[in-house]
Symmetry: C2
């Protein structure tokens, strides 16, 4: 079985580690960490081999009583493919090292498409990454857009998309970011980079986006206005999305009227870390007026890209070449709506 290594055991890395460990057609060979913090300690407690990415720090880990399995050089020897979940901008630098060693890798949405050369979404363009060496899994926001726009495009054909992305200011554990009490156009220029990012996996889609930051930590929220090629009803869209994997419909009238309530629902589902891997679309918001589809959705920024990383590994290592089969397999192992 192919060995997967996670370089960077942080917000995304630790989640992908668990997701890989849950699959039966790949194995988790180890994870890397710079700092002997609670995450390092818990990785070892879970039985994940821990490698340190800065060899000079070995003593710090010893002092903290955290047993390491070696340095990053040892890590490279153990893995067939790397999930690079290092902070934004580091991945592209790491790619040079991976290339020299001949190790394949996925990267995260913080890296630039042009530097990695290929972007990935399980639904939009899985097949483009079959056998590929370096693949960038698009960001949480772009993944969220693709998850619903792809099935809508299949259903009715998309003429033009306008989207306003209301983004969380920081993740729940981040205490040094804001805003605390402000709305921040981010970027203050229009259009934002999210539209072109969607186009890296849905080539040719006509999409314009605007983006802001607001004082919340739980989820991003997207407002979509989609001009359609073909006439469909709101019920047709509801039916399509109800039958789309990794998308759930939620109803404000049933107590799910905000991102806070959706994340409370995720807690009750009993998922690891109370994550919500699916994109939640507000059923009441789905409406078609004058041939234009409107809807609102919520994106759990810490976890929606996790199953996509697993699928990307399958495509790159040619473990599975049928996207639907990979998606179904990942979903089943992780308890995600199929």
């Amino acid at each position: 079985m192919k060995a997967v290594g996670i370089n960077g055991y942080g917000t995304i890395g630790k989640r992908v580690a668990d997701a890989v460990a849950a699959q039966d057609d790949m194995k988790l060979a180890g994870v890397t960490k710079r700092t002997p913090d609670f995450e390092s300690k818990m990785a070892v407690e879970k039985g994940y081999p821990l490698y340190i990415s800065v060899p000079e720090r070995e003593e710090l880990f010893e002092e903290a009583g955290i047993k390491i399995s070696g340095t990053i050089e040892d890590f490279y020897d153990k893995v067939d493919v790397i999930v690079d979940a290092t902070p934004e901008g580091i991945g592209a630098k790491n790619m040079e090292i991976y290339k020299k060693l001949g190790i394949k890798s996925t990267f995260q949405g913080g890296e630039k498409h042009d530097q990695i050369g290929k972007s990935f979404n399980s639904f939009a363009n899985f097949k483009d990454s079959i056998g590929a060496d370096y693949v960038r899994v698009v960001s949480c926001n772009t993944t969220g857009l693709c998850r619903t726009l792809k099935p809508i495009n299949d259903l009715a054909g998309i003429k033009k998309v306008r989207a306003v992305m209301v983004r969380r200011g920081a993740d729940p554990a981040q205490v040094k970011k804001g805003p605390i009490n402000a709305i921040v156009p981010n970027p203050p220029t229009v259009p934002s980079h999210h539209g072109p990012d969607v186009q890296t996996v849905m080539n040719g889609l006509n999409i314009t986006t605007m983006a802001l930051l607001v004082p919340t930590t739980l989820m991003h929220q997207h407002n979509l206005m989609v001009e359609l090629e073909n006439s469909v009803s709101a019920d047709d869209v509801i039916d399509k999305l109800e039958n789309t994997p990794r998308v759930i419909l939620v109803e404000a009238s049933k107590g799910l009227g905000s991102t806070a309530q959706i994340m409370e629902y995720a807690k009750d589902l009993g998922r690891p870390r109370s994550d919500l891997f699916e994109i939640a679309v507000w059923k009441e918001s789905i409406n078609v007026v004058d041939g234009e589809l409107y809807y609102m959705q919520a994106v759990h920024q810490e976890s929606d890209v996790v199953p996509e990383n697993v699928d990307a590994i399958r495509a790159m290592l040619e473990i599975e070449e049928d996207p639907a089969k990979s998606i179904a397999k990942t979903n089943k192992a992780m308890g995600i709506k199929g």
Copy 2:
């Protein structure tokens, strides 16, 4: 000089009281209050005659050491026109009383257009209210939309507007409202009521809106996508808005990249209560792509409708029938950008 009374000396009422007191062609005859709180005390300290709207509460005001000038019945005797700034839904009930007494009144955006019969925005439809008895000044959000859409319509003709309204969850002094950490589609259905509300003053405008609440208290933020009839450049729009009263352009690159920084700017301007009566449009956000104009703006929900109430009084009492002259006069008295 005609006598103006403010019924409901709260967030809007106290601001309109000051604005009326600042004009030289109308006088403030008094304000009403239900509760002997700090606002009542400060109204008396400012020299505004205070009338109590619940006569049975006279003792409470006495106990609090707040000198009243009479009850609401006495108030009605003193005024030629009322600014009704009572809580949402009360105004329509009060209108029945005003009708019996033959007193004209403005109402606020919380009342329903159909109940009041006529809606007002200084720029969009001032002349429709000349001599009118009952006029509803549209809400802060609708006022914000009209302030920029009207000049853009004059400049280039509007084919269709799409707007996403990111609204503040509560005003700064409100401690019993939320959300604290969530994004709330509000309403969760699309379109929201803001589009039809704009149409009460910009008849025939093709506009669709979506709206949310977020955890901030300072300002609303609007994201606009405007399909235009005629070809104009971003510079044309910038030039038009720079020459539009009650609209200011702000630049993220000059330290005004968020609603918090814009309200800090308002503090530095030295306005009463640090209000920002103007709509702030982010200059960087103004862009024209494929015949469609994009921009972002911020709306100070507590104060933007205040000058509009003054203009509405002038129209109703036929003190001034030229909107541009009334707007200029109000602006000069209040120190607003003309």
